[in-house]
């Protein structure tokens, strides 16, 4: 058990990467706050954890709301006594080319992917600063380097990297590690929703840009998140780590 009895909040933990991280953390002994905007998804993750003997509580709602962010932290403190680990995983896409992108598409992505990380980090850091211990793990994306159709998404994912580094510098002296993972081509509902033609093009050219020549699995990200959540990585902070089969070097 690598994070036994640690209390972890995972946002967007109803599906995909977030779900995988929550299950992995629970398997390693952590107590989970499972957040998702979709109640059924969040409850399913909680049930899965409980069925394996773990402890988890769902907090439903959008990370873009300060009330929800605060509620996650309050629930963690009330149910489990504290907050040790925060994984800012919740994210959405509203893809469109620049010339077609609407204000609504822009605003929605900024609210969840960028402001959500700020709110959750601020609320959790309050508890972590007091006890001088904490691990914050942000999920960015390879799109931070630019990806056609993802002007809004890439802006938020690059923003998260800046936020990570500033938070690492501010919180380092308080014993809090802050790192960011940039996944690419992980096989989740989000990637499955790519247009069919694009998906086929990716499949065909995978070997050209992906040294490991395979799609990633949510578990690949969960393994890295676990390392960053554990004390094995206690001297690593402010780092961007690409977990993407060699896509970006």
């Amino acid at each position: 058990m690598r994070i036994k009895d640690k209390v972890a909040i995972v946002t967007g933990a109803g599906r995909g990467i977030g779900e995988s991280i929550a299950l992995r953390f629970a398997a390693e002994g952590a107590k989970l706050i499972v957040n998702d905007v979709n109640e059924a998804d969040a409850n399913r993750t909680v049930e899965t954890i409980k069925s394996k003997g773990g402890q988890a509580v769902a907090v439903i709602g959008s990370v873009a709301s300060r009330e929800v962010a605060q509620k996650m932290v309050d629930t963690a403190v009330k149910e489990f006594g504290t907050v040790d680990i925060l994984v800012n995983n919740a994210g959405i896409i509203r893809d469109a080319m620049l010339h077609k992108m609407t204000d609504v598409q822009w605003d929605q992505v900024i609210e969840v992917n960028l402001k959500g990380v700020f709110l959750c980090t601020q609320c959790a850091a309050q508890v972590m600063r007091e006890k001088k211990y904490g691990k914050i793990i942000n999920i960015s994306s390879s799109s931070w380097r630019g990806n056609p159709g993802q002007l809004n998404y890439s802006a938020t994912k690059a923003g998260v990297i800046g936020m990570t580094k500033t938070a690492a510098k501010e919180l380092g002296p308080k014993g809090i590690n802050v790192n960011v993972i940039a996944p690419a081509l992980i096989w989740t509902d989000m990637t499955k929703s790519m247009p069919k033609a694009l998906l086929e093009r990716v499949e065909q050219s995978l070997a050209f840009f992906m040294p490991l020549n395979r799609w990633g699995q949510p578990e690949d990200i969960a393994n890295l998140a676990l390392f960053l959540a554990s004390d094995e990585s206690s001297f690593i902070t402010g780092q961007l780590i690409h977990c993407d089969g060699g896509f970006i070097m």
Partner: protein
């Protein structure tokens, strides 16, 4: 934690410091250690300790910068254990001084050990890993491999080189399911830092009253958000993670542990 039972790991420069900590950690995870060092006595002692803990190991005196030495060593390891799963290119040297005072020997030594050594060992081992379609290569670079730092010119150049080599090998070997990553340690108290501390103390009036160690500690405090120097175990933890089967991924920016572009 990572269950490296049955895996064979080579650690170069395992006689002291980082390499020693890495070898001990991989051994605790269950790996059989082939420990090499220029100092044969040091690795003999290390392997003695490993065997005392009822784990297996083999010590080999080797100069990573000599092709024949490396080839002979790899043959010997294969003869003993039949396979190689993990290679940690840790052997390294460094000296401190302004670039205008670098001797040709200083330059050649850094390039020979830090860069050519990594090339020679990786080449010999990768050839063995390819047919088995598995392997983990971890190179030890440095924060000096991400940004040029005063007084360690040749060292920086060689460690930048290690990152380039890491990226090339990651791309070439990825299709054989071999992951190649580089780790960039930061401030660790070593003989190189002792001479660096001495130089800074002699040349910066504000530091004149301090010992080299105090200079080092002052520097760590002023530039490290976590406010503590690194321990060899910090690096060993990361190497163990990268050497494990679990990640199953390449941490694609090999040097991300220290800095962004």
């Amino acid at each position: 934690m990572y269950n490296l039972d049955g895996q064979i790991a080579i650690v170069t420069g395992a006689g002291s410091g980082l390499g020693r900590a890495i070898a001990l950690r991989l051994s605790q995870e269950g790996a059989t250690i082939a420990a090499t060092d220029l100092n044969g006595e040091a690795v003999k002692k290390l392997v003695g300790e490993i065997k005392d803990q009822k784990r297996s190991g083999l010590s080999i005196q080797m100069d990573v910068s000599i092709e024949k030495d490396v080839e002979r060593t790899v043959k010997q390891i294969l003869k003993n254990f039949g396979q190689i799963d993990i290679l940690v290119n840790n052997a390294g040297v460094g000296s401190a001084g302004l670039i205008i005072n670098h001797s040709e020997e200083d330059w050649d030594k850094a390039m020979r050990v830090n860069l050519k050594g990594t090339f020679l060992c990786s080449r010999a081992v990768a050839k063995e890993m390819i047919p088995r379609k598995r392997g983990r290569i971890v190179n030890i670079s440095s924060i000096g491999g991400k940004s040029g730092e005063e007084l360690i010119g040749a060292y920086c150049a060689s460690k930048f080189g290690v990152i380039g080599l890491t990226q090339v090998m990651a791309k070439e070997l990825g299709r054989y399911m071999i992951t190649v990553n580089a780790v960039c340690p930061g401030y660790i108290w070593t003989p190189m830092w002792e001479s660096l501390g001495q130089w800074l103390k002699e040349n910066i009036p504000a530091l004149a009253q301090l010992s080299p160690r105090e200079v080092f500690e002052k520097r760590v405090k002023s530039v490290t958000p976590l406010r503590r120097p690194q321990e060899p175990e910090d690096i060993a933890n990361l190497v163990a993670f990268l050497a494990s089967e679990r990640p199953g991924t390449s941490l694609a920016r090999p040097s991300t542990w220290t800095a962004e572009r």
